[in-house]
Symmetry: C2
């Protein structure tokens, strides 16, 4: 697995370990928080360097690939030229993986591949693909190439389109941590109107979905979401209630981008059909996030 040090990667890694997989965890930089053990090896590799994927796969000879690494700097990643580098690095990784005996791959896409100007409920093989950002366009091109790779080499390739993941290790600037962080500090939480309907899924359930796609040799695109529309205002108010801090909420003071869709939800029928089930509902998930952020102070 790549991106093992990331928000989603950390959760995937712990679930794979708990399930007894032999894991080679790849990080973008050296890490100090884990030592190799019998079942897990750690590798610091800059996959953007041409040739790095080849060396890695030659050493590890992985049977399965779960590729999470991508540029993910909050704010910046939507428009970064590094998106293009990740497309190229991903194809190089797939080729090296196949060249050294790889048998099955799960890659990660995004709801940003879909046309957001439509009805808002996204179905894998029905909703038009029309990414509006460099990030979405790069993910979508990678999907096209990964799909072609799978066909050319007869290797099962699953493409996991993640919607709105939240939970432990999320970047502090994103919605749930930003609200929790402000309220825990007794500061006001400046929000948009909050009327947007979004598909929130606890990151542990996102990770479980990725592991499930690995387990079942899944092929094709899968939305990774709860399938439930949640009004962001409800999320924010729930968090504030748990913290007795409703007086700190300021709705309507942050403008909403013109292209911000009112509704963006995953149809998760294809994911459910793999046997995956979420462990968290919205409240238990937010409680878990809240407990974790409290522990970080």
């Amino acid at each position: 697995m790549t991106g093992a040090g990331g928000f989603i990667g950390r959760h995937v890694l712990s679930q794979l370990r708990d399930a007894g997989w032999e894991v080679h965890a790849v990080y973008s930089q050296s890490h100090t928080y884990a030592a190799d053990n019998e079942k897990t090896a750690h590798h610091a590799v800059n996959l953007l360097l041409p040739g790095a994927a080849e060396s890695l796969c030659k050493t590890v000879r992985p049977q399965c690939l779960l590729h999470l690494a991508w540029c993910a700097k909050p704010g910046g990643y939507w428009t970064s030229p590094e998106n293009l580098s990740w497309v190229r690095a991903t194809v190089e990784l797939l080729e090296a993986f196949q060249h050294h005996g790889g048998e099955q791959a799960v890659l990660v896409g995004s709801c940003a591949e879909y046309d957001w100007s439509g009805e808002g409920v996204c179905r894998e093989y029905q909703t038009p693909i029309k990414p509006a950002t460099p990030y979405g366009r790069s993910k979508n091109a990678t999907r096209e190439l990964a799909e072609l790779f799978g066909e050319l080499h007869d290797i099962p390739v699953a493409w996991a389109r993640i919607f709105h993941a939240y939970g432990p290790y999320e970047a502090p600037a994103r919605l749930v941590p930003a609200v929790i962080g402000a309220l825990l500090k007794g500061e006001s939480a400046r929000c948009s109107h909050g009327e947007q309907l979004r598909d929130l899924l606890h990151v542990a359930d996102v990770a479980a979905a990725l592991v499930q796609l690995l387990r079942v040799d899944a092929r094709g695109a899968f939305n990774i979401g709860s399938g439930q529309p949640t009004r962001l205002r409800e999320v924010i108010e729930y968090l504030a209630r748990q913290l007795d801090a409703e007086h700190l909420l300021q709705f309507g003071v942050v403008p909403v981008a013109a292209n911000d869709p009112p509704l963006l939800i995953a149809d998760n029928q294809r994911l459910l059909a793999t046997g995956w089930q979420p462990r968290f509902d919205l409240h238990s998930g937010l409680n878990d996030a809240l407990a974790w952020w409290r522990g970080q102070i």
Copy 2:
């Protein structure tokens, strides 16, 4: 320029040289037919090797890039896994080019990017894109990435969709050389029904179009074609008449693929608007090809 030893590349190279450009000609393998001179340097580089593009661009520091290299083995290239490698290598080349000061790029696509099940006259920003082959899908993904590259770095990127080029140095297995070759040897030329309407353009005019896109800092997609529908039967019969060999033609003995479109023509208005004009019409072009192949015996 890459692909300098290829069918189209040879013609581009001679035109650039004649026009006084300083050219760095990149070949997939070492070549013996040309020595460096004041205006042209030759480089043997396997661009599929990760890191090769970076070394090349670091040495050459090209201002303009004309990227022709791709897998092109007749028959095989439609479905080769090497198509994917060329996508990855092309992005790597674009990045290295930009990194070392590159200012403008022309890349080569194909009519195989279009949906062939439509009316058959292809317009760059109207005809649906629906490539049906690994080659077409890879070219199309590369176009999406090249377009994004141009936007992210504010570099003019032109995408030249070539239709049916013919002329000196064409691969012997393709239509025009195959018919000429058979008839020159006094063998029968086995053909399909020949009723397909195609857009034929002499390779020197294809090359001139690519050079023109370089000259005018073109941006976006350009069909490279004559704009004229030509029945393949007319091409074959014309060649046979010139060789007094009409008795050797066998029409209808080679089956036509089910997905072979009856009509596939370039709308070349965007190309004409750059100032490009073809030098050859169909007859003078075929005469030129014929003369060249005669000289090869």
